[in-house]
């Protein structure tokens, strides 16, 4: 008799110190099923997939793969059982070639008399990438040469390289642009046709309802429900996730360009070779200016350049205060002028992951916190960080907990919240709600709205069109490194009209 389930878990439990991350979790996934897994940050989703993928081991409970008991001790064990996983936070080994990354841990496949057949490995990697239509990568180049999105695509290639019967995708769609999302959906569709299964974690409610068959909802480490996707709406999902009613839309409900005439930032003919050229725009006081584009449009690099992280080959950025035009020299200068930056890659560019929540929150506010002779009173730091933790409902054991122990969403809350704490005048936000659940999203948008009313100017770079449409006064669409069109809120944005310009 054949087994109808590819994977089953019964009463899985996992503790991290006093935290009960998975509490009697039971889940069954059928062959050929596309299952969604959804829940607030810290609800136990990532713990569950780490257990299935052999990254961590369960404390109690049982797992079955194709009807057989399954207890992976290592990720390699999971690979050998044809389970492919793309995890949210960890990426690739930067110091190794792209091709080697695809087969790392299984390099013995290419072993010829004790020596790795690199040519064979690179050929297999290229063939594998083109088989899945994942793009043409120079597989012999180091992974460090790739962008965040390109890395995600290589991670996907790596997960697919084990010819998985069960594919687990944790928050992959938030890191990739629309064109690559379409490709991912086609891969998922292909899996379904072949009778293989996919477990998809995403905070994009519309997306998860659209592409999955069933959705399992987790809250506080417990599976609270599993429903058919076709019976769900985003509002029902929100309620199930947070356990309370989250009213309608969390975006702005006005359709006017609401900002002052005063220009606070002027970008003139900015060019960074290989990324974008001749980009010019003005940012007004109290404006939310959106920037969008496909994967190679240069939108993320533009954000870094405005903050002074990347030095442009041509053009200038001017900070304008009381009619005084000050040229922004670098990121230190930008910070002093009151420009803040929330990067897309929070682990590498934003947070000190091996330091406490307290220090991470206080870092951008050192100048405010310090007293005579630069002395910073610990009590002041504690007060500030505790306030931010409470205001943003950051789930941490204490303010002294290290950042590396927090879930992706809580890390992002800190990444964002610490800038809201300081009195910045301009905030550049690159994918501000990446890996963040609906509750936190709603909170971030409401804080943005409130800050906008108080005169904060925001540059919002995002791969998520709905949030740009929902929040921005003006939207710059970039294509091939150039600003090709500007949309105004008052003229009405539609996803279709923006996509038409982007593609």
């Amino acid at each position: 008799m054949t087994n109808e389930y590819i994977f089953r878990a019964e009463k899985l439990n996992k503790f991290f110190g006093p935290t009960h991350a998975n509490n009697d979790v039971s889940i069954s996934i059928q062959k050929g099923e596309i299952r969604g897994l959804i829940g607030e940050n810290g609800s136990g989703k990532s713990t569950l997939i780490s257990l299935i993928s052999g990254i961590i081991q369960k404390d109690s409970g049982m797992m079955f793969l194709d009807g057989e008991p399954y207890e992976p001790k290592t990720p390699l064990d999971a690979f050998n059982h044809k389970i492919g996983t793309v995890v949210q936070e960890l990426g690739l080994v930067d110091g190794l070639p792209i091709g080697v990354n695809i087969f790392l841990g299984r390099l013995d496949m290419f072993n010829k008399n004790g020596v790795i057949d690199l040519q064979g490995l690179y050929k297999a990697a290229s063939e594998h990438l083109s088989y899945w239509n994942l793009g043409k990568f120079p597989v012999q180049n180091l992974a460090s040469t790739l962008s965040v999105e390109e890395k995600k695509m290589v991670e996907l290639a790596r997960a697919l390289s084990v010819n998985p019967n069960f594919l687990i995708l944790d928050e992959i769609t938030t890191a990739i642009s629309l064109n690559n999302r379409k490709l991912l959906y086609s891969i998922i569709e292909q899996f379904k046709k072949q009778g293989k299964s996919v477990l998809l974690i995403t905070h994009d409610l519309e997306e998860i309802i659209k592409i999955t068959d069933n959705i399992t909802i987790m809250r506080d480490g417990v599976v609270v429900d599993t429903r058919k996707s076709c019976e769900l709406t985003p509002d029902i999902l929100k309620r199930l996730m947070v356990g309370r009613e989250l009213s309608g839309s969390y975006y702005r409900n006005d359709w006017e360009d609401q900002y002052e005439d005063d220009v606070v930032l002027s970008v003139c003919d900015l060019t960074v070779e290989e990324h974008f050229e001749d980009v010019s725009f003005d940012l007004h006081k109290g404006e939310i200016l959106g920037i969008c584009g496909l994967s190679d449009a240069g939108i993320h690099e533009l954000g870094e350049t405005i903050f002074g992280v990347i030095k442009p080959q041509k053009g200038s950025i001017y900070f304008i205060s009381s009619n005084e035009k000050i040229k922004v020299k670098n990121s230190i200068h930008a910070r002093k002028l009151g420009i803040g930056y929330v990067p897309k890659d929070r682990d590498k560019q934003a947070l000190m992951i091996n330091d406490s929540v307290e220090n991470n929150i206080c870092l951008p506010s050192i100048e405010i916190l310090q007293g005579p002779f630069g002395y910073i009173r610990p009590a002041k730091m504690r007060k500030l960080s505790s306030k931010v933790v409470n205001d943003f409902e950051i789930k941490a054991k204490s303010i002294s907990q290290y950042i590396r122990g927090l879930s992706g969403g809580n890390k992002q809350k800190i990444n964002f919240a610490r800038w809201m704490n300081e009195k910045v005048r301009i905030l550049i936000m690159d994918c501000p709600t990446r890996g963040v659940d609906v509750g936190v999203k709603a909170y971030i948008y409401s804080v943005m709205n409130e800050a906008k009313k108080q005169g904060l100017s925001i540059i919002m770079i995002s791969d998520e069109l709905p949030e740009l449409i929902g929040m921005c006064d003006r939207l710059l669409v970039m294509k091939e490194g150039k600003v090709v069109k500007t949309f105004y809120r008052s003229s009405g944005f539609t996803e279709e009209s923006i996509m038409e310009v982007m593609m």
């Binding site: 990720p75 790795i116 150039k482």
Partner: protein, 335 residues
């Protein structure tokens, strides 16, 4: 700017541009070689042709062999994040055992003694470091004192017997002289290159050194990778000890952490090789760096700078400069 012909061509477009970097890379490589050669010509003029005399160049090459072998050892040990400071003390013990066995069974004993001691002691170090989770440099300092102590006890026991620390005399000295030392260097390079770049040992150790957590998630057994890499490194350290014993004839035990001074030049070589890593393969860069560092001391000697004073200043400066160069491609990070 890039052209986008289809949905998936963005990657190709980007990398087609990157392909130009390959030619830039070759130019960079050529420029580096020129930049290395120019000072040699200048120094040669400065020393009235003595510096680039064939005998002097050969002498530099011979002196570069032991630091190169030790630096190859570092490639396998330090790359995984293990900063073992007891390697100098291990080398002294390996040299002594190597000498004792060489007198008894010749070249086979010379090489076997060096490798066995280095292999065994490094294995103990790595196992204990992993088990105790003590920072490797702290553990290494402790073990350096213990190994130095063992060497000193041996020296004292020899004195009691009215003997001296083992000396090779004329036995097994060919390994440390031309042409064998150069042949061994070439074999060492081939071995280091293949293991570091073409085996799972090399890839695993590089993965662990680059990002331990990601490597673990990708199925690399981190502990196994560190131990396997460390043991390969210990073979190079053992070979360095055997060559050193054959070249010098006798190595005296030291105390008071003086053994660390033994690894200062190889450390400078390793750091400089890291600085060259974007241009040359690390294992090849080790030889280039070793020759450069040894050339520096050679020039100082030719210019009559006394050893132990200004030359010591030069060693310290050399380690710092090489360290600075090695950090250049790590933006704002102290490794």
């Amino acid at each position: 700017m890039k052209s986008v012909d289809s949905e998936k061509s963005y990657s190709l477009g980007k990398f087609q541009e990157r392909r130009f970097l390959v030619s830039r890379y070759d130019i960079k490589k050529l420029l580096s070689v020129i930049l290395i050669i120019i000072p040699y010509i200048i120094f040669n003029i400065f020393t009235k042709g003595r510096f680039m005399e064939s005998s002097n160049i050969l002498s530099i090459l011979v002196h570069a062999v032991v630091p190169a072998f030790v630096a190859w050892g570092f490639c396998f040990i330090f790359t995984s994040g293990i900063m073992d400071l007891s390697i100098g003390a291990i080398m002294i013990l390996a040299c002594i055992v190597s000498g004792i066995l060489a007198i008894k069974i010749g070249y086979f004993g010379l090489i076997l003694g060096g490798i066995l001691v280095s292999f065994a002691l490094e294995y103990i170090n790595l196992k204990c470091m992993i088990k105790t989770k003590i920072p490797s440099w702290v553990f290494g300092l402790g073990m350096a004192m213990i190994y130095e102590g063992i060497g000193a006890l041996y020296g004292a026991s020899q004195l009691k017997l009215g003997k001296q620390v083992v000396s090779l005399g004329v036995t097994a000295r060919k390994l440390g002289s031309i042409p064998w030392i150069i042949i061994v260097l070439a074999l060492g390079l081939i071995m280091a290159y293949i293991i570091f770049n073409r085996t799972s040992i090399g890839f695993d150790i590089r993965a662990v050194g680059s990002n331990r957590e990601v490597a673990k998630m990708m199925g690399v057994d981190v502990t196994k990778a560190i131990i396997r890499g460390g043991l390969v490194g210990s073979v190079f350290i053992g070979l360095a000890s055997a060559i050193n014993e054959s070249y010098a004839g006798r190595v005296m035990p030291t105390t008071g952490l003086n053994s660390i001074a033994l690894i200062f030049i190889p450390l400078a070589v390793y750091l400089l090789a890291q600085a060259f890593e974007q241009i040359f393969n690390l294992t090849v860069a080790v030889i280039i760096s070793s020759v450069i560092v040894e050339s520096l001391f050679n020039i100082l000697t030719i210019l009559g700078v006394p050893s132990g004073t200004w030359q010591q200043v030069a060693v310290g400066a050399c380690v710092i400069v090489c360290g600075v160069l090695a950090q250049r491609h790590y933006k704002g990070v102290v490794k």
